[in-house]
Symmetry: D2
Subunit: 138 residues, 4 copies
């Protein structure tokens, strides 16, 4: 399962080195996974209204090249494995306008019920959308 999103770098996201501030990539990954889930037909905003939120539990980033102001970057996002536990991991690759790989990241989120303050399983509706992508290869 793959998705591709374009984002233009904002002035307020760039630091005085002239590079996107290292913390702001999190905003880009957020957009990429929101667009992927939206494409499934189940916008994350709807999931939240139904009571389940998705806090991030782990993030690993490699910054290979700088992204600069006004660049139109492309984020490729894929789901490579289905966790048995209530977790989901998005794999991101970011490319600049010259199609150079500039950033790689894995972001793992969990599912959490705000009312009970407890981790919960992935909502059935999302699982149904994602399952085909993780069907056994047999």
């Amino acid at each position: 399962m793959k998705a591709s999103t374009h984002i233009r770098v904002r002035y307020g996201e760039v630091d005085q080195m002239g590079f996107v501030y290292y913390g702001n990539y999190a905003l880009y990954y957020e957009i990429a996974r929101a667009e992927m889930i939206r494409a499934c037909g189940y916008p994350y905003s709807e999931m939240e209204k139904e009571g389940t939120v998705m806090p991030v539990v782990k993030m690993n980033i490699k910054y290979l090249r700088a992204a600069k102001y006004d660049e139109l970057i492309r984020i490729e996002t894929s789901l490579l494995e289905m966790h048995p536990q209530p977790f989901i991991t998005f794999h991101h690759k970011i490319f600049n306008e010259q199609d150079e790989l500039i950033n790689k990241a894995e972001v793992t989120l969990t599912f959490y019920d705000l009312s009970t303050q407890k981790r919960v399983a992935m909502p059935d509706r999302l699982r149904q959308y994602l399952n085909p992508y993780f069907a056994p290869a047999i």
Copy 2:
């Protein structure tokens, strides 16, 4: 009623001109008014737990000089008038390490009940703290 707060400019707050990004001053005003209210003995976080939030309804800023990375700036905050309506206006002046005035702002907030989704009067507890400062001059 006056309060003074010191803030050190973070790297992630500065843009590629080398100046604090114009939107990030909002974070500084937020800290200044939170510290002022905390000094009253009624932290804003407590007010929120009791059901009242304070959205901003108006903000006017003059940017006189740039603030730069790592500068220790000082924000002076005052309450000059008591509104009859459910509003409160904070007046901010920011000074750099050379004690030059670099920024002036007025931020007006309202009081809002998240459960009823309606504007409400200033919580009594806060009014009691603030009233003496606005006593008639007679």
Copy 3:
């Protein structure tokens, strides 16, 4: 002279009231004026490479209604007056998906030469693009 830009509200831009944080509107105005100038054929990123930056000197905002996560908001931007001095003022109106006016702002910027650290006149190239829009009504 008018321009219209659509922006989807990001999760990281919304605070715990569930509203876009009041400082983050500055990012939206930035995008709106960058797109307007780009449409003139003179991207702001190019102006910076030629040595002129545009710091904000004044901003007035009215927050009329809240913008929420995942909403696709529309910003209408206009230039209403031509200043004789080295200033330019953008007028912004933001509408939500129900086409309700939720936010109004005026943002005034100056032109500044980073190498000489001095204010300069509006670059000729930009003035040529913008002049027709401010031609006398006679």
Copy 4:
């Protein structure tokens, strides 16, 4: 080599789950390493003026518990290894007011000369400050 820094969570850093937005921890690590280097007697702002900047090349984060608005969190930062290459890795642990470990991260930065656009060795002045901490255990 260890350092400890306290930071109060700002309203604008918290998302609508009521948790610090996952990208904003980068700001906290930035403060922690800036304070550690400042304590060495060589503020990072001075290093930049002398021509060397420190872009982040790698970051791994584990989010164990949420940080919330107005909490006074504590970041413990340590340097555990000296890289032979032009890299430095900061290890961060964040604790909440109940002294619970809420976040762990490793942030690796490189040294970069903005004028030549090339990686450079760690500036001698910083190396002299840090060397004692990495002396062989013999």
